[in-house]
Amino acid sequence: MVKGIRTFALACLLATGFAPAGETGSFANRAQKLLANGQYSDALRMLHSALQASAKEADLVGEQRIRIDIAQILLHHQEYGLADSLLASVPEAKLDARARLTFIRLRISMYNQQQQYVEAARYFEEHRALLNDDIPEGLHAAILLEGAVAEVGNKSAGSLDTLWDEVDDLLDDDGPGMTAYAKARIADLSGSQDEALKQYNTALGCAQKSLHSWLAGQILYRLGEITKDTTESAAYYLRAAKLFLQLGLDRPFVASAEHYQALAQDDKELAVALDQARERLNARQ
């Protein structure tokens, strides 16, 4: 009898192990790996394949998740119009709980990136009630941190202390990079430049360590903007430009390279890359 139960349990285990892998998930996971490796165009291509596979498999949940992932990549490309219209095509009500919260984080993040703090704060407040203890801590904290930035940008920082307390509870000293980045942006928005520089540098170190290249680029760019010393500022812009160039993110690259060129001597290689990126952007318009 015991032997029979053991055999049955083993069979069940093996059956689970041998379950066929869906193409949608396979493509999406590969896209995630590619993105972590900074291969944006390959990741986007893979997500496109995942989207097609989701249609083939009639996987509605997967399809909406992929749309959200694509919107995330478009945000990194600073293609806000495209990201917005893509997010608008996602039926928020039909999303699974986790995808819906990622959707919310993405929307707040998109508003913040465009400095539309009124919309960001409003959207955050509207959806704050959805945040509960069941959602993953990282995602929960990310929404609260974006919300905190939106509140400060909107000059409605009344609930900021409560937000920090919540974040501290959730992260418990974990996720130092994401906290430092939010603190830096808040200090930046509040005009505390020294604190902003300190926090941005902490966040930069964490982003580099955890291979969040896009975030590292964003931080370098912002450091270039707020650093008063021209040589230092140019160096930050150059690092940001080179990083975005390697990631294949044309719009952020063009912005960084143009700032660098305005401050420093001509760099021929950079100038050639800049012309090519501009051409690509023009062709896309």
């Binding site: 379950a19 892998a21 869906g22 998930g25 996971n29 790996k33 997967g62 998740r65 992932d69 955890s210």
Partner: protein, 316 residues
């Protein structure tokens, strides 16, 4: 008697004046002695100075404009040539002119220096002043072409070896299994290497094509040379040892050329084979990827249908 003596004297003086005039005219036409044309010096640095010597002709579009006056080795073991060029030809020798060492007429003719003016006439070109260095082009004779072909094919071989190493790494499950499953890096590397081999092989084939195209006229000219030497031999009715030696040299050259062409074909076939190997290797890597993915312990790690990840939600 006195009159005839005067007549002889006048005739002798006339002949002397004639000889002097002819001599002066010759000197003028050759640009020697008092009539030496105004010249200026130009330099050029070649990888090899084979077949070049002091006195080698320098031509622009077939017109002799000067001669090589000096050959010297540089610190980096190259050969610096000094040209003495007639000043009157300076407008045709500009900053973008290229210098080639080539053979004048056929395979066994002496080498000459050919200065090729720039093709793009609409562009602004500057006349080269005294002491300037001209751009050295690749030598356009069969020895150099073959030397280059061999060098290129040896590079191709190195690349093919590298491709082999990549594939061996891929086959070692302890080292790169993860990379095989999760990353395109291996494929990209492999494709890059094979692409290089492909480029090199095409380049070599183009070069061989050029040699094949150029060789027949050269061989024709060599044939006619042999004919001429033969006719000269018949007329003289005594074939000197030198003439025999010359014929022998021509024969050896033709034989060597045939050998070289054969070698080139073999090299080309080798390169093509290498390329085909590269293709086969990629296919093998692809099959390996598919095969490995179907192992249960790997398959288990491949995401299931409902596990579409959401990007950027992790703590950092």
């Amino acid at each position: 008697m006195e009159f005839s003596g005067l007549l002889v004297g006048a005739a002798l003086a006339g002949i002397m004046i004639l000889i002097f005039s002819v001599g002066m005219m010759t000197m003028k036409s050759q640009g020697i002695g008092l009539y030496r044309a105004e010249e200026y010096k130009l330099y050029c640095v070649f990888d090899q100075g084979l077949g070049l010597r002091i006195g080698t002709k320098v031509l622009v579009k077939g017109v002799e404009v000067g001669r090589v006056s000096e050959l010297a080795l540089t610190e980096d073991s190259r050969v610096q040539l000094t040209f003495e060029v007639k000043k009157q030809f300076s407008p045709w020798i500009v900053d973008s002119s290229q210098v080639y060492a080539t053979r004048d007429q056929n395979l066994i003719a002496e080498r000459i220096i050919n200065i090729v003016p720039p093709l793009n006439k609409s562009k602004l070109h500057h006349e080269l002043p005294e002491g300037s260095t001209l751009i050295a082009g690749d030598a356009q004779d069969i020895e150099t072409v073959i030397q280059k072909a061999v060098a290129l094919l040896s590079t191709a071989d190195t690349l093919a070896q590298k491709t082999n190493v990549i594939l061996s790494n891929a086959l070692d499950p302890k080292s790169t299994l993860g990379a095989l499953i999760m990353s395109r890096e291996l494929y990209d590397q492999l494709l890059y290497q094979v692409d290089k081999v492909d480029q090199i092989t095409s380049h070599t084939e183009r070069m061989i094509g050029n040699v094949e195209m150029r060789l027949p006229p050269l061989l024709d000219r060599t044939d006619s040379l042999i004919g001429q030497v033969g006719r000269v031999g018949v007329k003289l009715d005594t074939i000197s040892t030198q003439a025999m030696g010359l014929l022998h040299s021509v024969d050896t050259t033709l034989y060597a050329t045939n050998q070289i062409m054969g070698d080139l074909r073999i090299l080309s076939r080798g390169a093509t084979q290498m390329l085909m190997d590269g293709d086969a290797k990629i296919e093998k890597a692809d099959n390996l990827m598919t095969g490995l993915s179907s192992f249960w312990f790997i398959k288990n790690r491949i995401p299931k249908t409902d596990s579409v990840p959401l990007l950027g939600d992790e703590k950092w």
